[in-house]
C-alpha cells in the first residue's frame, strides 16, 4: 500500500508481491512510471525502471530506493526476461508492478487494475473499482 497526496495523487492499494498491469494501451501506465520516478527523486520509497535504464542496470544494477515500497517495471516486453530475477526478489519485500503485454516468459504475477483520471492514478486488485 502506498499513497502520495501530491499532483497527481498516486494510490497503490496492493500488498507485497508481483502484479501485472492490464495489457491495454493508453490506460496511464507510463504516466504512473514517470510519476514514480519523480517521487523517488523527492525521497519517496518508490521507483520505476524502463527500457532506457537497462544499459545502466546491466552495468551497475537497478537504482532502487532504500527499503522500496513500490517498484514498477515499465515497457517490460522490451527487455524481458532480463529483470525476472530482480522482479522475483523484489516481490518478496514490496509491491512490484509490471507493464507486460505478453511477449516472453516472466515470473508468476497476479493481475491488477489501473484507473487514471485527471490528477489521480490508482492501482488496485482486479474487480475492485479503484
Amino acid at each position: 500500500m502506498y499513497t502520495s497526496m501530491g499532483n497527481p495523487i498516486v494510490h497503490i492499494d496492493l500488498p507485497k508481491g508481483v502484479f501485472l498491469l492490464p495489457p491495454e494501451s493508453a490506460v496511464g501506465k507510463t504516466y504512473l512510471s514517470n510519476t514514480l520516478r519523480l517521487l523517488q527523486r523527492t525521497g519517496e520509497p518508490v521507483t520505476s525502471i524502463t527500457l532506457a535504464d537497462m544499459p545502466y542496470v546491466r552495468k551497475c544494477g537497478a537504482n532502487l530506493p532504500p527499503n522500496p515500497v513500490v517498484v514498477m517495471f515499465d515497457r517490460y516486453d522490451a527487455y524481458v526476461p532480463e529483470c525476472n530475477g530482480l522482479i522475483s526478489e523484489l516481490g518478496k519485500v514490496c509491491t512490484v508492478l509490471v507493464d507486460y503485454k505478453g511477449v516472453g516468459p516472466i515470473p508468476h504475477g497476479r493481475s491488477c487494475d489501473i484507473s487514471y483520471a485527471s490528477g489521480r492514478i490508482e492501482v488496485g486488485p482486479v474487480g475492485v473499482r479503484v
Partner: protein, 145 residues
C-alpha cells in the same frame, strides 16, 4: 497491404524499429484521417497539430505523452518501409493497427485474444503468405495456428 511478420521469420536485411518511444522523434505526424482514427480509437484523443494532441480529458499535450501503443500505431502508418515491432502494444492498439492500417509492416505477436471487430469486417493484411480481407477469416486463422 499491411504485412504481418513473425519475429523469427523476418526478411533478410529488413529494417526493424524496436524502440518506438525513441523513433517517434524521427517522424513528423501528418493530419490524415488515419492519424485521427488511431488517436481516437487507442487514446480517445484528438489531433491538434503535428506536435500536439488533445487527450481524453481535454488537455492539450505534446505528442511524447501518447501511450507507447498509440505511438507504435502511428509509426506503422508513418514508416511503411520499416518493420515496426508491436510487442509493447496493448490489445486495443494492436486491434486498431490491424483494423485500420492497410500499408506497412509489423512484427506480430499473437496472444490469446481475437482482434475485436470495429465498424467494418474489412481488413487488408498478409500473414504467413496468406492475404486476409476479412477480420472474421483472420481471427479464424489465428485460432487454428
Amino acid at each position: 497491404m499491411l504485412h504481418l511478420h513473425r519475429s523469427n521469420q523476418l526478411p533478410v536485411g529488413s529494417k526493424v524499429v524496436d524502440d518506438v518511444e525513441a523513433w517517434m522523434v524521427r517522424v513528423r505526424l501528418q493530419d490524415t484521417p488515419l492519424t485521427r482514427v488511431l488517436l481516437k480509437e487507442i487514446e480517445g484523443a484528438e489531433w491538434v497539430s503535428p506536435d500536439k494532441f488533445k487527450d481524453r480529458f481535454g488537455c492539450t499535450l505534446y505528442i511524447d505523452a501518447l501511450s507507447t501503443g498509440c505511438k507504435t500505431a502511428l509509426l506503422v502508418a508513418a514508416l511503411p518501409e520499416y518493420i515496426i515491432d508491436t510487442r509493447e502494444c496493448g490489445h486495443n492498439a494492436r486491434n486498431a493497427i490491424i483494423r485500420n492500417i492497410t500499408t506497412g509492416n509489423i512484427i506480430f505477436h499473437y496472444g490469446d485474444f481475437n482482434i475485436l471487430e470495429g465498424a467494418s469486417d474489412v481488413i487488408d493484411v498478409m500473414l504467413d503468405g496468406r492475404h486476409f480481407t476479412s477480420l472474421n477469416a483472420f481471427n479464424l486463422y489465428l485460432e487454428e495456428v
